[in-house]
């Protein structure tokens, strides 16, 4: 299992991407989505997911809303804002740059 550190660079990208496809998810659902969609390879730790969510909320990329669940508990759900969509594009292109650069390094013998 990768350490949470290794995810840190890409955690924002993953969360933004997930929220762009599935709006209004709460923290646990986002964590499950990362786990499921990566085929159990990637895993976001609770300890870093929530600070990251709050940080992105501060930055205005995502917007939080309390909803009432069937269980009677309140849950905080997140969705992408317009700024968040732009940020997603930025993160994606940055990721492309990094991965292609890493690949180039690996291919160089």
């Amino acid at each position: 299992m990768p350490k949470s550190d290794s995810l840190q660079g890409s955690l924002d990208l993953l969360v933004l991407n997930i929220l762009s496809r599935r709006p209004r998810l709460h923290g646990y659902a986002i964590m499950s989505a990362i786990k499921d969609w990566s085929g159990d390879v990637l895993r976001a730790e609770e300890g870093s997911l929530y600070p990251a969510l709050h940080r992105m909320e501060e930055a205005g990329w995502i917007h939080a809303e309390w909803i009432m669940k069937d269980t009677g508990r309140r849950a905080r759900t997140y969705e992408l804002t317009a700024a968040g969509k732009k940020q997603l594009a930025v993160e994606e292109s940055r990721w492309q740059t990094v991965t292609s650069a890493v690949n180039r390094v690996l291919r160089t013998v």
């Binding site: 646990y28 600070p51 709050h54 501060e58 269980t71």
Partner: protein, 888 residues
């Protein structure tokens, strides 16, 4: 979310924490709902507290949050010791308020730029002339022809504006003569408003076209302030007319609100073009009645301008000298020794500035010292607090608080004190600054200093509060942060280091206190000597009715009015004088004895009616009073100074002298009376001048009596309060003879007091601050002594247990601090002696080196120190060794 929401979150910190917790709980519930092991899920989360902290720091501003927490904690600390906190806040408030108030005055009078375009390029022309006693006297008036010459000289480099100097309130009327009222008009160059870039509130302003031909432009512009006071901002005021002197003026507009004139300290009511001043005055080269302001064009520097003006001034002086053929060589030399000055005048220029500049500086210094004394007190209080809280600080350090946080903690508490004090001080300053301005003026001359409370004052207040916070808070804060947990938790570090600091602060307090006392002593005794200078006449129950007539009236009518006033019940005696004594007006003349060239020393000429000396209770030494038939210029009554100056002290009766007037030549005058010296001028610092009293009525060259348009009825009333008769007499004057009108009523006592109004103000304020300084220093000393005893009670207990005498112990505790008090007093002595030089101009017959001036503050301070020591000593000898030692 934005910066704003993060700031807002600081103040709903608990709510934020709760939301974060709830979100995490909902996450756990979800996980457990999916079948995860509750314990495992919780463990996966790690420390809930840490999670919350991390998310919290994201959602709010961490430093602001810690500041908020410290502020809440600091407030609780202050509330814990309400009495001490209140004392600290109040003493600081008084000091900060006094400082702010002094700043408001200094700023309004001396610093604040006029609200005109490019105030920083405004300069004023002044002249420095050597005076009799070797010092230099500065004046800033000149004549209109001089102004025009200077303006022509600088046509390319600067625009010059002439503005008449404040010369008392003037009578004018919007209706009939019965409705005369007073206003402060000012003659200004027509182009002044354009030069200053000013806009009208309504109507139009004066322009250069309103200042072309003498007497041809009867237009007036009101100041906004006058428009508000007199017309309630009625736009219909524009177009109205008023009569002033013989001219009818039309109001053409109102100036913008911010511009109140250039004579800081007076608010101009009405602006009138220069050209409307009477043509004789305008043409006279020697009638000095206006101020010159120069606005430099961009890129012009003042030095070359000064040189050019000096050349022009020299040419003017050469021309003026030609107009005084009988002038002595010494007088002529003196005229050429006069030097033109060209000084920045961004804040405008007024006599009030000249008169109060130094007084305000001293006032500022005194309040500054009081503030420092108050700061030292609070610093000592904070230091004692910090000592008591050493364990708490040590605990905070042990559980990981950074030094920075501790400094912040203590500083925030200091800031509470300072800003609370500043808030209360602001109220004090809001009240006291106008109060002090009110004290500077006798009711007849309402000085009106505009005292805005704007960002300058606010900024000063905030800066002062911050500086004060650092002054008394920084050392205790650093002390607290430097706490060594091990030492503190073990039960104390070096207890003497803190006490040494406190003692040093006491010494500083005593030194400052000494300076304040010393200064106050000098100012109070100067005022005392000045106010008790003999005036030579009795001001008691004297009322001066300054009267004017529409057309000049023959002397016999003036006598008729005086006769009528004598019949009014409550009136004891009535006489006539040209203008009241000590009112600031004077007429001088050169004296020639036996046809010799005129002497260098001028004599005052005061015109009075028969019986005047009796009304004023000025005793005759020899000779007689005027007869009703006597008229100027035939006879005179002279005083002792006159006799000493011109007749070598011999009895002057039967002798004669000549009054030399550059314009009308010589007039031979016979001395018929010889009276004791009496003061006619308001310069109380100068000796009584040679004075010749001449008859109120005068004849022209052909021997015909001349009519007079103004004079003053001097009334001695029967009742102790002469003002009780004022309104009756005001009505009786026109009733006695139509065409006569009372323009102003002043008691002689009021006039006498106004001659020393600045000295009185300084003395009262200095005394007040001396008392405050003494009180603060005493409280400070008491606090430190008591703290010392408290801190050393164990040691004292042991000493007593092994047989030390109470007196021994008292000596032990007080000796050290008293040596500091003495050191402080010595330091104060040195400071006081060195600073006294700057006071010299305000002192009168008092020398800073007088034993009494130095001894009195020393004795007061030592006495106060002894009083302050009493409670501590009592406290100490009452220590019961048994209970003291058992307590530990």
């Amino acid at each position: 979310m934005s910066m704003w929401s993060r700031i807002a979150n600081v103040f709903r910190g608990d709510g934020v924490s709760r939301e974060i917790d709830e979100e995490l709980q909902s996450h756990l519930a979800e996980a457990i709902g999916e079948g995860r092991d509750p314990a495992e899920a919780r463990r996966a989360f790690g420390s809930v507290l840490r999670n919350r902290e991390e998310s919290r720091d994201v959602r709010l501003i961490a430093w602001l949050d810690s500041l908020r927490a410290d502020a809440v904690f600091g407030w609780r600390q202050l509330m814990k010791k309400k009495a001490t906190s209140a004392a600290a806040v109040l003493s600081l408030a008084l000091a900060i308020g006094a400082c702010t108030s002094a700043f408001r005055l200094i700023d309004a009078l001396l610093l604040r730029p006029l609200p005109v375009a490019q105030a920083e390029r405004l300069y004023t022309v002044a002249f420095e002339s050597p005076s009799w006693d070797g010092t230099n006297a500065t004046y800033d008036s000149c004549s209109y022809p001089m102004f025009l010459r200077m303006r022509a000289t600088l046509k390319e480099q600067a625009e010059l504006v002439a503005i008449s100097m404040y010369n008392g309130l003037i009578d004018l009327t919007y209706g009939s003569d019965q409705d005369m009222e007073k206003a402060n008009p000012q003659y200004v160059s027509g182009w002044m408003f354009d030069t200053f870039g000013l806009r009208p509130a309504i109507g139009r302003l004066l322009t250069k076209d309103d200042d072309l031909r003498p007497g041809a432009h009867p237009y007036a512009v009101l100041s906004y302030d006058y428009w508000t006071r007199r017309f309630g901002r009625d736009p219909k005021a524009v177009g109205r007319t008023f009569r002033m002197g013989d001219d009818l003026y039309q109001i053409v507009g109102v100036a913008g609100e911010s511009f109140t004139g250039t004579e800081t300290g007076w608010v101009t009511d009405i602006f009138i073009p220069m050209a409307m001043k009477n043509p004789r005055t305008l043409a006279s080269l020697n009638n000095f009645w206006l101020r010159t302001l120069a606005q430099l064009k961009p890129g012009v520097s003042p030095e070359p301008i000064r040189e050019r003006l000096r050349a022009t001034f020299r040419a003017i002086q050469e021309e003026r000298v030609k107009g005084f053929p009988g002038q002595s060589k010494r007088d002529r030399d003196r005229m050429f020794q006069e030097r033109l000055l060209f000084e920045p005048a961004a804040a405008g220029r007024s006599n009030m500035q000249r008169e109060y500049r130094q007084a305000l500086a001293i006032l500022g210094l005194l309040v500054g010292l009081v503030l420092l004394i108050a700061c030292a007190n609070v610093a000592n209080l904070m230091a004692a607090n910090a000592a008591a809280r050493a364990r708490e600080m040590a605990l905070r350090v042990s559980i990981g608080a950074g030094r920075g946080r501790l400094v912040q903690l203590v500083l925030v508490e200091s800031a509470w004190l300072a800003f609370l004090a500043a808030a209360i001080g602001a109220l004090f300053a809001w009240w006291s600054a106008p109060f002090i301005v009110g004290m500077t003026n006798p009711p007849a001359y309402p000085a009106r200093l505009v005292l805005p409370a704007d960002w300058r004052v606010l900024g000063f207040g905030l800066a002062l509060a911050s500086v004060v916070t650092l002054l008394f808070g920084l050392i205790p804060a650093l002390g607290a942060s430097a706490v060594k947990p091990v030492a503190a938790l073990r039960g104390g570090e070096d207890p003497h280091s803190r006490r040494r600091l406190m003692h040093a602060l006491i010494a500083v307090q005593v030194a400052f206190c000494f300076v304040v006392h010393f200064t106050a002593g000098l100012l109070v005794s100067s005022f005392d000597r000045l106010a008790s200078q003999p005036v030579g006449f009795s001001a008691e129950r004297i009322l001066n009715l300054e009267a004017v007539t529409q057309r000049p009236q023959p002397p016999v009518f003036w006598d008729q009015v005086a006769d009528h006033l004598r019949t009014v019940p409550g009136v004891e005696k009535v006489a006539l004088i040209g203008w009241p004594l000590l009112s600031g007006e004077s007429a001088v003349g050169n004296i020639s004895i036996n046809g010799a060239p005129p002497t260098d020393v001028f004599s005052d000429f005061v015109s009075v009616s028969p019986g005047w000396a009796d009304v004023m209770r000025i005793p005759f030494i020899d000779g007689r009073d005027f007869h009703p038939a006597d008229a100027n210029p035939n006879v005179a009554i002279v005083n002792e100074a006159f006799t000493k100056q011109y007749f070598g002290g011999e009895n002057p009766i039967g002798k004669s002298f000549e009054r030399v007037d550059p314009a009308s030549g010589r007039a031979r005058i016979l001395v018929v009376g010889f009276v004791r010296d009496a003061r006619s001028r308001d310069r109380m610092r100068l000796p009584i001048r040679p004075t010749a009293y001449i008859p109120f009525q005068s004849t022209d060259g052909k021997g015909a009596l001349q009519p007079k348009a103004r004079g003053t009825f001097v009334v001695r009333t029967a009742s102790a309060n002469p003002l009780a008769l004022a309104s009756t007499l005001r009505k009786e004057v026109p009733r006695a003879r139509s065409g006569f009108r009372v323009s102003n009523i002043r008691t002689q006592t009021e006039l006498n007091q106004s001659a020393t109004v600045r000295e009185r103000l300084l003395a009262v304020l200095a005394l007040f601050f001396a008392v405050v300084a003494q009180l603060l220093a005493g409280i400070g000393l008491y606090g430190v002594l008591d703290y010392g005893v408290l801190q050393r009670r164990r040691e004292i207990g042991i000493r007593m247990a092994i047989g030390a005498q109470a007196s021994d112990i008292a000596r032990r505790v007080t000796t050290e601090i008293f040596s500091w008090v003495l050191a402080g007093a010595l330091l104060g002595l040195v400071l006081g002696m060195t600073s006294a030089r700057y006071l010299a101009a305000l002192l009168f017959q008092v020398k800073p080196t007088d034993a009494a001036m130095l001894g009195l503050p020393a004795i007061t301070i030592v006495a106060a120190a002894l009083v302050a020591a009493v409670p501590a000593v009592i406290h100490e000898v009452r220590i019961d060794p048994v209970s003291m030692l058992r307590a530990d």
